[in-house]
Symmetry: C2
Subunit: 338 residues, 2 copies
């Protein structure tokens, strides 16, 4: 088969790769129905994370089970499944406490931007949908494997509750789905920090009540102005830069909560500043597996449509254009069809 491989900064190739096969009795092979480019793929694409060898790309996927290893019990060939970007056994102590993305047997899904994918620890990782979905549902199901689950974790970690006010820092797919998550969790007021028209539009559609275009000191001042000088209960940090983390910390009221899910790049937090900010801080790689059963139900029943973040769809062999469009912010998120 052909699959996606990153060779270096902005050098994405769609080239011949070995067909995946069952290597362990706990593996499954999936025929990928849809995959996509992740905001986090842009870190190595832009050269921020060094590429030391040609690297198969992609960790978001959904599709039909093609084959399973002899130990796999919970999914079978012919079922439509999806799973988290991190493989988990779903039985270790960390998994049992709901932190499957810190599973003691964690692996990153390798090379999902391809027509076929090997998923290790299939029983702990994959969840089947109630039936084969219609084509219309596939983008929203695909979104669950990372960005929707990550936005949900941000809102959960930020303790969004009915009646609360939330700020969402970042208007990428995760930030937009953070808005959707905060809305689902009952936030009364959702302030999206965004300055891109198409993203602002989707943020409003997902439930944002206010849009703040300012950043840095001006952004913090605007949030304070909108909240009688108090700051907000919950901030979802969905970027991962020093500026966005400080935006989050400074926008939160004392005793408020920050859920941070943007993989930090160059972020250093001053202990004393954090101490006197008096905030709760929780984040990390989203334990998507924990949320999958509930999120699949919400999509299946038409309660949420996270697939709207895909504003570009390309055949998989045009994956390089997908990276370019996201890099240049022409697309929020690119869906790829094998």
């Amino acid at each position: 088969m052909k699959g996606t491989v990153l060779y270096g900064p902005r050098d994405v190739r769609f080239e011949e790769r070995e067909d995946p096969k069952i290597l362990k009795p706990t593996d499954a092979i999936i025929k990928v129905s849809a995959t996509c480019v992740c905001g986090s793929d842009l870190w190595p694409y832009r050269g921020f994370n060094p590429i030391t060898q040609p690297t198969p790309m992609g960790h978001e996927y959904c599709g039909i089970v093609e084959e399973v290893g002899s130990d796999v019990k919970s999914v079978k060939p012919g079922q439509f499944v999806l799973g988290s970007f991190f493989v988990s056994d779903n039985t270790c102590p960390h998994c049992q406490l709901g932190y499957q993305s810190s599973c003691q047997n964690r692996e990153l899904i390798p090379g999902a931007q391809a027509p076929y994918l090997r998923v290790p620890l299939a029983d702990g990782t994959l969840v089947a949908t109630p039936d084969i979905p219609s084509d219309a549902l596939i983008p929203s199901l695909l979104a669950l494997s990372d960005v929707m689950g990550t936005g949900w974790f941000a809102a959960d970690a930020a303790e969004v509750k009915p009646g609360k006010t939330a700020v969402v820092v970042g208007d990428g797919a995760v930030g937009l789905l953070g808005v959707l998550s905060a809305k689902q969790m009952g936030a009364e007021r959702i302030i999206a920090m965004s300055r891109h028209e198409s993203r602002t539009k989707l943020a409003r559609e997902y439930g944002a009540t206010d849009i703040v275009t300012e950043r840095g000191d001006a952004g913090v001042a605007r949030i304070k102005e909108l909240t009688n000088g108090i700051g907000v209960d919950s901030v979802l940090e969905c970027v991962g830069t020093q500026e966005s983390m400080m935006q989050a910390i400074r926008s939160t009221r004392p005793g408020g909560y920050i859920g941070y899910v943007g993989v930090p790049h160059g972020v250093e937090l001053n202990g004393q500043q954090l101490f006197f900010a008096h905030v709760h801080l929780h984040g990390g790689p989203a334990p998507v597996r924990r949320y999958l059963p509930d999120l699949i139900k919400l999509v299946w029943n038409g309660k949420i449509a996270p697939g709207k973040v895909f504003d570009q769809t390309l055949p998989l062999d045009q994956v390089a254009e997908g990276y370019r469009a996201m890099d240049e912010r022409r697309a929020i998120k690119t869906l790829l069809k094998p």
Copy 2:
């Protein structure tokens, strides 16, 4: 009157100061029954925090109300009262949400190491005991004004719950009272990190089930060994150095909670390390005022005896010796009697 003034590193003087008087109608004047030296007083004493001018010292106190301003409604002359090290109005939005130590009208109590003390915002700051306490209760009541409330906040922020395992980093008065707090909150296992015999003894008396003497990598390895490689649910960080914060972060299981109450000095947290540690982090100046009514009850009814951390008692005019004894770790905490 004479009171305590810090002139520079290790230069504490007990010298003539102006008698405090009512400056605003919301003030109260207290005749101090007992005061003490705080671990945080040692930062400026040791020269870590610069002293730019002679500074009246002390922020822990309890005593009899001598006089109140015309607006004070909740306490009256003759009552025995205590309050937090931070003055609060107890009505602003931060106070209403339980973060009185971030009160919009917050002030640090100035110069409590003296026979008389002016307490601003008396209604929001002071809490009266049910009656005049016996002399035997005074050390435990005094401890509530900072160290006990701070240890309690550490345990509360670390989400200590019945059946959980907690680690306490730091064996100063706050750490020891963190052990006591974790015990009160029902922790099943309490691991105290300590290498000083007298402190270890008190930690055990307060409820520590395990003592770890190692620090740094060895300390983390020992905690992991004691918890089947998993890490603990709750860590109380009661020091405030880079080493102690990293000890806390690395000892916590993914999804676990850190309550940090040691004022950070020179602490910088790497964003990516914190992200992948997957921990909850909450801390800051303890909102002691929130806990005072409940803690007074616990002391009054003999359920807790936080006053045991005072292993040295001196007449107030020997305050300089109190600082020396704590600096040299000859005393855990020094009580001063005017």
